[in-house]
């Protein structure tokens, strides 16, 4: 099952939130919450702690932002960005654990969990490794079949989610370059990131309205674009998010979290 992306009247803007930890503050969560329609909240493995999770859940509910669990690898020091060679069972278990932990705060505050999006290295590994992707989809499904699964557009994770019967939400990046096969140009290569704000907004608009992206070789590639990833760290990121939101709205595209339960 997938949510149709053609002739889209609405698109989702999502952001990773709740990445503070103990005495360590991170991100401009309160500002970003005014701009996005859904949030991925860290669950304590790569970032976040129980106090941060509670506060962030409250903030999301106050701002009417849909709440997702953002499970990551157990690596606070590496912020979940270093790949760890885990088994599919481990991926299943750490995903399920973290979904449950976050959901407890959502329930306690009277909300309802909306989606799951893996973080960092877990996201990347699940994008290309079919077994890890299936394990993560299985964890989501077993916890709650009505949860949405967010993942890289065109990835193994999206495919696994569909096979499992989950509603999936394909994520695109306004400021990343794409290859002709629809995958991202790795950050290790030159021209991986679009630094020009105008160009990034234009790319997002094209993905949202036409369902295509201009790839690194100049070709026009079809792409599912149901949610756009917004970064919440630093003043420039927040400024860009505001700019993107304005441009999308001006183009007649509403900003709203997808509802897989319809």
């Amino acid at each position: 099952m997938s949510i149709s992306s053609s002739a889209r009247a609405f698109i989702d803007l999502n952001c990773d939130l709740g990445e503070s930890y103990g005495a360590y503050a991170k991100g401009r969560d309160e500002e970003v919450l005014k701009l996005v329609s859904s949030a991925n909240i860290a669950c304590g493995f790569h970032a976040g702690d129980p106090a941060v999770m509670r506060n962030t859940v409250r903030l999301c509910l106050e701002n009417g932002v849909s709440i997702g669990a953002h499970p990551g690898l157990p690596d606070l020091q590496g912020f979940g960005r270093r790949e760890i060679r885990i088994t599919p069972d481990e991926a299943y278990e750490m995903t399920l654990y973290q979904i449950g932990a976050l959901d407890a705060f959502v329930r306690a505050e009277g909300g309802r969990l909306h989606h799951v999006k893996p973080h960092g290295a877990l996201y990347n590994m699940a994008a290309r490794d079919r077994l890890l992707a299936e394990a993560i989809a299985e964890a989501v499904l077993r916890f709650d079949t009505s949860l949405l699964l967010y993942g890289l557009s065109g990835s193994e994770l999206m495919a696994a989610g569909k096979r499992a019967g989950l509603a999936v939400v394909s994520e695109v990046f306004a400021d990343r370059c794409y290859r002709p096969d629809g995958s991202l140009v790795p950050r290790s290569e030159p021209y991986a990131v679009i630094h020009d704000c105008e160009a990034a907004v234009a790319q997002a608009l094209q993905m949202a309205t036409a369902g295509t992206v201009r790839a690194s070789d100049g070709s026009l590639v079809p792409i599912e674009a149901q949610t756009v990833c917004i970064h919440g760290d630093g003043p420039q990121a927040v400024g860009f998010a505001a700019q993107l939101r304005t441009a999308l709205t001006a183009a007649g595209i509403g900003i709203a979290a997808p509802d897989g339960r319809l």
Copy 2:
């Protein structure tokens, strides 16, 4: 709300399980599961990891043993036994987090969470500190009002649970000496532990049948005894549990987990 303890036909035997961690095995869970009616499963803070939690939940379901979350302080090295000066908010948050994490595995395996029992230093602190006790009761209540709260008989935690409207289950120890006020003789004092198996079984029987215990000064003290704590480490502990179970059954007392939902 409390479950009546007079003229008891049934008593619960509970044990802490799922205390292994990664490559570290601990406890004789499979043997103990044949003897108890309810299990408190470690949730990853003082012991346990997502793989251990998954396996232990499965084992409990296979054995028809009621599953409780066993939240502890975030101190794997100290096994949750070292007191950490936390605030009530922190107690609330760490309890809620761990309940949610364990519940995810219970849901995923098709079971239903039955109770919550704090572990180690958190248990002891909640027994004597009213604010911590209330915070823990609040976490249980907000997660699921039908969950049972296990705690030290006569403690602040039991009082807080009752005030919150939770069904509480008063725990007693067969092998620990009691003071005239119904509290435990601290382990730091002599005569804190009953080393004689016969005496320990006799004490448990008396608590279960008469609702009284002979205190350290020889006086007879009333005590709520709805569940007896069984230790699962070491061959002697398992042997004692078997002996206790036999004695209770012979005395016409059934072994069964309480059902607060009735």
Copy 3:
């Protein structure tokens, strides 16, 4: 053995540094290093990680700032500020471990470790608990008898250090109020902190020049003042440190780390 404090021509300004962790930045280390004569570097238990330790050691050496190990309780989430009920053996072991870890970076960069100052709750516990104080002094002594031990002026830690034969350095606070017995007014009480910059500088000057402090009851109390603690978080803290340094220099007091090896 103690370093004489009367008619002082020099005083030490020390600051806690290297408190970042992974993706989490904390403190204004580069600015503060221009102002202090000694630095206490976090060792990975309450803050800091191996990369941060390496960088901070380098920065200290480049700035000619004396390097101390800053061991804390194993509680990153609580930033080492929550008391954990540890045994003297545990205090010895965690202190020794962290001294060794930091010293490795100092050695590798061609420097020499200068002192040890416990952090946060470990500092406070060692200030009032004789057995913990002795355990920490023992760890310092066994690692290197020539290391200086920094601690709260008039505390059990200073007494234990002296008994052990260590050179101790008594720390005072410019912005904290003192009781008539020379101890700090706890933060939980009103009037614990001096918010007025002028008053704080004046207190530091008086402690440095006269070896006395005006206590909360108005009495004049003798106090050992060999090092003044500077906070490195926030622009105000750095500004105050600069102001204090200027005032001390203007009063003819040099800023220099003590040398216990003389």
Copy 4:
């Protein structure tokens, strides 16, 4: 610099020790210490804690067993066996940190650190990745140029150690099958492990006396064999170690830790 392996009159038997953690006991350290000449002590990242390190160092000194640091990846749950994609800088920093931490206990007990051997996934990654190998060798060198570096015979780590000017000690496995190029048959393949005790002892003897091993394709391959890895977990492992020691002694080969400082 390398220690000559031809016409060897002595060989080293090494074992990983100190792998307990908090309430979790692991290994038969006291038995194994009677059989080996050198020990690799876990440093708190993949196993071990400060209390375990202190006790294990003492045990080694009492038994006259040479002490090595056994740094691992920061992954207690995975016991350091899951590969984490770290940078050479991170490898350098985590190795240096752990060497320093262990060395503190050795110094405090009046001993002297003898060698460093990476653990688990860090060992394997350093065996095949030149940059990681160089980073680890650099950490050892910067800490103490006289330390020996243990690693897989024929590996990148041994090559990097030699280039750095360290004395290296080539490790072989009695119970693992070798490929024609001198590398180990991966555990994921059939016939990776020699389960027959006699065959394993025979292989060790041949490596120790002739400097050759029969590879998986039947060819005879030259191999540096300066130390043999002994496993300390389980009764069979200890029994095998005793059998191996007896066989080596019977063949006129002494059991002794190498001394790179000669």
